[in-house]
Symmetry: C2
Subunit: 310 residues, 2 copies
């Protein structure tokens, strides 16, 4: 088991308050939580707000389950960059004898992993991953490319933590743009501004900043430096518990990484680029609860209006 990240004093206090008010239900595993109706109602309003913003700007809505075919996962190159964060699905393939031994071991809390085998499925590492193969399956891109809104998808990160904002399983709301390199770069910048305005309208002290991904190992540190140097990743940060800011949304230019991996080309045959925008539902709800208090019915009028206006 990986080490569980400790929470800061403020994060630990905030988690205790959220549990005490029944907004968060601990499962016994750090970073895996249930939610009350109050928490979920805010999250659903946020999801509707983000979907509306995307559709008004021309997005096509597609929805995907929390699992990705292992074949697509292998093609994506995720294991080279983030092996420590990935989750794979295993299952039982044996007969009656093994089934009995497995159940017996599990009931005694002894190891039963020898009975499990890798399946052809992995957990979704990011909400945009199923979009690329789905678009590739349509053939060459239409003129103007595509803009897909994938809703609030469940994604997995194997990084247990006592910080309530660092989950192992959480909802990532992704928008994906694929097309001409210049169009994609312009879309990326436009959405970074739109995202910033949207989160500030909710009353959050949000700031845009250069960022890098948590790449694995020594090679990862070089990748992170190069990503920063080329300004390929932006994040919107805001305080959640205490003054240390947390990323609520990220804006990523992939150049031809995914289009090459899945064979997506421009209508005329040229190289297509992709970019994605991801909003963390739970983190934004937590930032709102931290900024405006634990009772959403008493939040400032502007924040309530932005969320509940339709």
């Amino acid at each position: 088991m990986p080490e569980v990240r400790e929470a800061s004093a403020e994060q630990a206090r905030f988690l205790a308050e959220l549990i005490d008010h029944g907004l968060i239900l601990p499962s016994g595993v750090p970073g895996v939580y249930g939610h009350s109706a109050e928490f979920e109602d805010v999250r659903l309003r946020l999801e509707a707000l983000l979907t509306r913003a995307a559709v008004e700007n021309g997005a096509e809505r597609l929805r995907f389950p929390p699992l990705l075919p292992r074949r697509h996962f292998e093609q994506s190159g995720y294991l080279s960059s983030f092996p420590h964060l990935a989750g794979t699905v295993y299952a039982f393939e044996g007969g009656e004898h093994d089934a009995e031994a497995q159940a017996e071991r599990a009931s005694r809390r002894e190891d039963w992993d020898e009975f499990q085998q890798m399946t052809d499925l992995t957990l979704l590492p990011a909400a945009c991953y199923p979009v690329y193969p789905a678009i590739a399956a349509r053939g060459a891109l239409p003129a103007g490319g595509v803009f897909v809104e994938a809703g609030g998808s469940w994604v997995f990160r194997h990084e247990p933590s006592h910080d309530p904002a660092r989950r192992q399983m959480f909802r990532q709301h992704e928008l994906v743009r694929i097309g001409d390199p210049e169009v994609v770069a312009g879309w990326h910048d436009e959405w970074a501004q739109r995202g910033l305005e949207l989160l500030r309208r909710l009353g959050l002290e949000a700031e845009l900043d250069n960022a890098s991904d948590p790449f694995f190992g020594r090679r990862g540190r070089m990748l992170a430096t190069s990503q920063r140097d080329q300004a390929l990743k932006l994040e919107i940060l805001a305080p959640i518990a205490g003054s240390e800011p947390t990323a609520l949304a990220s804006f990523n230019q992939h150049r031809d990484h995914f289009t090459a991996a899945y064979g997506i080309a421009l209508a005329g045959g040229g190289v297509a680029h992709s970019a994605c925008v991801g909003f963390g539902h739970e983190r934004i709800v937590l930032a709102l609860l931290g900024a405006h208090g634990l009772d959403p019915s008493r939040w400032p009028a502007l924040a309530r209006e932005a969320l509940w206006r339709s």
Copy 2:
């Protein structure tokens, strides 16, 4: 890999039509699909209808992620009954050398399972499973017991099939009642009738019938017979593709199975029972598409009114 179940000719034709109309996006793995906005809109209206029915009848809404702590999974006894359907989560715990070897193997489509280890998480086997430990954590039941509505949760069943109605990952909308044995039995019967009326109001040729779970192996056949003899499981069935009916909802009395496993007792200390009701979102949407046609805007007025009335 388990054998993939073949579809009937009608099921295969229906799946092809759904894909052709863009309602379903194949992922390459049987039983794992994306959905279009049209499909998802019907599903969301169905979810709202079911949630409203539960809340109007006194349910408390709680929401849970698609993963269950392995400890709770082991306590539940699921591995004794359904080892063939369960999914467990594995992850990488190694250093740089292993990470490189793993990525290299994966990129060549060779086996890389030796680098993965069992985590403390499993996929959710049924949407009611997180409810019991969450209620147990509150202490003794309040007078009258509890009624929880867990929304449309993602659940996993390792049974690949080319029937579009048999998914590996799908949304199960569960209601759970825990309390006095007689109250729980009455609630179970009441919801079987309410579920039947609700699905008939949508224009489905729904019928209630005795049923049994797909228990594993030889011992499983005995368990299924005993379950039927005691009428512990009911299902609502309706045709989806062809005349063979498919279960759209199930109604399950657990007696003291879960309350004993998680230590849930009545306020006075007596034995509590539990029951759950599960509606299969995708199956109900598919039954509606099969019965009323692939364009929801042209469905019969009564079905549209029931779904879009609020």
